[in-house]
Amino acid sequence: MLEIRNLHAEVDGKPILKGIHLKLAAGETHAIMGPNGSGKSTLSQVIAGREDYTVTQGEIIYNGRNILELSVEERAREGIFIAFQYPTAIPGVNNMQFLRTAVNAIRKHRGEKELNSGDFLKEARYAMQQLDMNPEFIKRAVNDGFSGGEKKKNEILQMYMLKPRLVILDETDSGLDIDALQDVSRAVNQFRSPERSFLVVTHYQRLLDYIKPDHIHVLFDGRIVKSGGPELALELEQSGYDEIKAAAVL
């Protein structure tokens, strides 16, 4: 599904990703952990195609194709979705119209016919119910005046509606109370399938109790410094990132 080879990226001439290697097979869920500032969000956004970051070396192969040449929207239409750490509020843009425009842009790309507003609403209502989201949110402006938790749920609602193949969750757990965390995790787990892959970016081990990863990678200073099975999360929980930081300095 996804293979990242020797990825280097910088912003304003400052290197942030310094040679990332990662292989994610269809149906797998990998977690990316690491302290603040290690480059987790940068990696997520570089995969999504954010133009503020310059890729200086390496490749991102998605379904057999190097996607570095594709624009943000082309990547989204090919099935890449990122749930942002800090979702953007867009005053004046209606959440429902936005989401329907997005759904239909992606359906068109897939050669499917447009979803009419009745079918769209039915599906959105169902998804919101699954997320225990107040149905009023679909009528408001995108993320405008939403609490931290509501924004994160709105990201997952979009994931549900857009039906991506590769999902990147960037610190989706931050800002969520335990009930919201469970709602979100349940929705994500229901969404897992043999054709879909997940990259779960998190700072804490907590989320991984709910969304169980197949592999865990530890990112530090723009490199993956350690990879392992699910037990790695518990190790990190006990020893913290200090050991990894110390090892990296040596």
């Binding site: 999504a48 195609g49 954010r50 133009e51 503020d52 624009s71 943000v72 929207e73 989204a76 239409r77 979705f81 990122i82 942002f84 979702p87 953007t88 867009i90 005053p91 004046g92 843009v93 936005f98 989401l99 425009t101 997005a102 842009a105 992606i106 790309h109 402006a141 995108v142 979009q158 857009l162």
Partner: protein, 380 residues
């Protein structure tokens, strides 16, 4: 009290002496109406096909619908209107209009009314003059659309709005001319005790469009709102020069102007707020935001505050910005194309002004006109 004819004669003399204001006049600094002078002939009466408006005027003349003319009004109304004309400060365009207008058309009925003024092609000027004076304690909503065919014409409109005791008066004014035609609207609005006037000024298209606004709050409890949307593309210029005068205690006003400009277009907003000596408990808010899409586009913003009382809340803010790249990225990351994402954000910006139009039918008409012109604005 001078008669209408005497006022017309005086206006004519003034125009001959003083001419039209130009660059040398501070309030007209940004409004460059080249080739416009009082020598331009007055547009002739013409028949026309109306577009479903209740009242349809062509070149200043009533073609369809019913409006009363000033001389048929009760004497108290006549003297009220004439005395307001008499004490208006000299303004070249207003005086030119008064000297040339055929008659004063008066709207006295409450309710909702759609009016459309159209100027035919040619190098000429139309000088419609309307006075709106609905019954006290009523609610009136007017949608006045100004259009002009291609040609170097000028629509020189004068509007008087009088909201008496407890009256609600809403006006949606749309300047939507062919790109070679220009318009100047002089709007004098008076909100008396407990009256509310809400004006939405939409300047969508035309070579130069302008509103010269004079708002007066004369009684406690009066409220005046002026919202504007100025669109620009090519080398078009739009202008709102607004003076709001708080002449009584316990009065409030709110001005919100948004500009969206592409190419080498420009807009200017001059917001003058005056608070009379000892007019206490006044609240005056002003906000001017501009969205620049083109590198050569320019937005001028001039707040002017003149406050002569101490218990006054007065706020003003101005900002000039470009489309938010983070919001663009967010929309595109969901599969929406760059062009469509831009369009969505531009429409959202405009929508903040349109959302203030309370009458939903009128808002719908306006939205579709605005959307149409926003395509030109977005693509430059």
């Amino acid at each position: 009290m001078p008669s209408l004819l005497e006022l017309k004669l005086r206006a004519n003399q003034k125009v001959e002496q003083l001419g039209l204001p130009g660059e040398h006049h501070e309030d007209w600094l940004y409004t460059q109406l080249e080739n416009i002078s009082p020598e331009i002939p007055t547009a002739p009466a013409r028949p026309g096909n109306h577009d479903g408006a209740d009242v349809y005027l062509v070149n200043g003349h009533l073609v369809r619908g019913e409006l009363m003319t000033l001389e048929h009004m009760p004497p108290t109304v006549i003297s009220k209107i004439l005395s307001l004309y008499e004490r208006e400060a000299y303004d070249g365009f207003s005086s030119w209009n008064l000297s040339q207008c055929d008659t004063v058309q008066v709207v006295t009925a409450a309710g909702t009314m759609r009016l459309h003024h159209h100027v035919t092609t040619g190098r000429h000027a139309a000088h419609p003059r309307l006075a709106i004076i609905p019954p006290a304690r009523s609610t009136t909503t007017l949608y006045l659309r100004l259009t002009a065919e291609p040609g170097e014409s000028l629509t020189n409109l004068h509007l008087l709005l009088i909201a008496e005791n407890n009256t609600k008066l809403n006006l949606v004014l749309e300047q939507d001319l062919a790109v070679t035609a220009s318009s100047v609207v002089t709007l004098h609005a008076i909100a008396e005790k407990d009256a509310r006037i809400e004006v939405t000024d939409l300047q969508l298209s035309g070579k130069v469009t302008r509103l010269t606004f004079l708002g007066e709050l004369t009684g406690a409890g009066a409220h005046l709102a002026l919202h504007g949307l100025l669109l620009g593309y090519d080398a078009r210029h739009s202008d709102s020069t607004a003076s709001i005068r708080h002449l009584s205690s316990h009065t409030t006003s709110k001005e919100t102007y948004y500009s969206i400009l592409n190419n080498a277009s420009s807009s200017a907003f001059t917001g003058h707020i005056y608070v009379e000596r000892n007019a206490q408990q006044v609240d005056a808010q002003q906000l001017n935001r501009s969205l620049l899409l083109g590198d050569a586009a320019r937005a001028f913003s001039r707040p002017q505050l003149e406050i002569n009382a101490d218990d006054v809340k007065c706020s003003h803010g101005a900002s000039v910005g470009r489309l938010d790249p983070t919001a663009l990225f967010y929309l595109r990351s969901r599969g929406i194309s760059q062009a469509e994402a831009r369009q969505i954000l531009i429409e959202a910006f405009a929508h903040e002004i349109l959302a203030g139009i309370a009458d939903l039918d009128i808002r719908k008409s306006v939205e579709s006109n605005v959307k149409f012109h926003l395509q030109d604005v977005a693509h430059g």
